[in-house]
């Protein structure tokens, strides 16, 4: 039981309970994340639409990029609150109240620093495609380990992230699982939208405009964003569970609770 603490199945088993306990804060995560995700999707859509002519629209892209990065700041706060709610729930076994909102300033500062570092890394390597999952992992680990910060610093947060990467097996398994989950969520969001259109068609209204929009490139990007936002709470919660459990293993708290369970057993 103790050795399985960080196994992928144990992490995934704990994730839905962690999200359920932090359920009210999923709303905050989505509310603060919607502007950023939509702007980011819009930005990438513009880049692909412009194609080889992208260099002639530098100012236009720069405006989009700046807006997107400004929208990232409240999204980071939402993520910090959600991960804190997950961690409080994991520690107490109960749904956290407003305590989740009281993210310490050192944690917020640390997370802002590490998240912007990861964001820079993401945009610098996005053209390779293969680096995207690795950067997504770093982003989730930045959110999960920032809560260990007792004071702001530059090296300690990076050391915390790297310490979680010492055991890559469970992380690779999570990436594989969530890649499938993201694809399934995208298909479901798309089907749900088409189902809505089909049901609305029964009212006899003119849906040609909506059907036209759904065929457009923008709609596909919005669908992708919807799938990403649906998966995001589970992705963050999985890494919160991973960070929580690896800390338990480091401090020996897992052995202490295991011993307590053994001694209490009839």
């Amino acid at each position: 039981m103790v050795r399985d603490l960080l196994s992928p199945t144990a992490l995934l088993d704990e994730t839905p309970a962690a999200v359920r306990r932090a359920a009210p804060w999923v709303g905050l995560l989505w509310l603060t994340g919607i502007p950023f995700h939509l702007l980011q999707a819009g930005f990438f859509r513009e880049v692909f639409r412009l194609g080889s002519g992208v260099r002639d629209y530098g100012d236009h892209l720069a405006e989009f990029a700046l807006l997107s990065l400004v929208a990232l700041l409240p999204a980071l706060w939402g993520r910090a609150v959600f991960v804190r709610a997950c961690l409080l729930g994991l520690q107490s076994g109960a749904a956290p109240g407003r305590e989740a909102l009281r993210v310490p300033a050192a944690v917020l500062g640390t997370y802002l620093y590490t998240a912007l570092l990861v964001e820079s890394l993401f945009y610098a390597t996005v053209w390779t495609y293969v680096a995207v999952p690795a950067v997504a992992v770093l982003g989730a680990l930045a959110a999960a380990t920032a809560h260990r910060a007792e004071r702001p610093g530059l090296v300690a947060p990076l050391r915390e992230i790297l310490s979680e990467l010492s055991d890559v097996g469970p992380i690779l398994a999570l990436v594989f699982f969530y890649a499938i989950g993201l694809a399934v969520a995208a298909i479901n969001v798309l089907l749900l939208f088409q189902l809505g259109l089909w049901a609305a068609g029964a009212t006899g209204g003119d849906l040609s405009r909506w059907e036209h929009l759904l065929d457009q490139d923008l709609a596909r990007w919005v669908m992708g964003t919807g799938a990403l936002m649906f998966v995001e709470p589970f992705w963050l919660a999985s890494f919160a569970v991973l960070a929580h459990r690896s800390r338990l293993r480091e401090t020996g708290e897992d052995l202490r609770s295991w011993f307590l369970r053994l001694t209490r057993a009839p």
Binding site: F43, F44, V47, F48, L50, G51, S52, V54, R55, G58, L61, A62, A65, L66, S68, L69, A106, G109, T110, L112, Y113, L116, L117, E119, S120, L121, F122, Y123, A124, T125, V126, W127, R151, P152, G153, L154
Partner: protein, 93 residues
């Protein structure tokens, strides 16, 4: 040294014999007043002073570093977003 200390009295409790010498103020203190921290004995007052002196300085420096790094990274992310995605759209350029 230990025998010499025990002949002296605690600076805070005159009725008690000395147990340790505070390495900051050189006062003899009893067992209750002495705190062994990072291999060195301190009296309560000196330890409190050390804590108050070290905490804000470390915090201010940490905030300054993290704030500067965050601003620099915001700018770096902005530049990477524009130029990285140019490569994404037109990788053979």
């Amino acid at each position: 040294m230990a025998a010499e200390l025990q002949r002296q009295l605690c600076a805070n409790h005159p009725g008690r014999y000395g147990h340790a010498l505070c390495m900051a103020c050189r006062k003899t203190v009893c067992q209750e007043c002495a705190t062994h921290w990072e291999g060195i004995n301190y009296c309560v007052a000196c330890l409190k002073g050390l804590r108050q002196a070290s905490k804000p300085r470390g915090s201010v420096l940490g905030w300054a570093l993290v704030g500067t790094a965050a601003l620099a990274l915001f700018y770096a992310a902005f530049k990477a977003m524009v130029w990285g995605t140019v490569l994404l759209a037109d990788p053979w350029s």
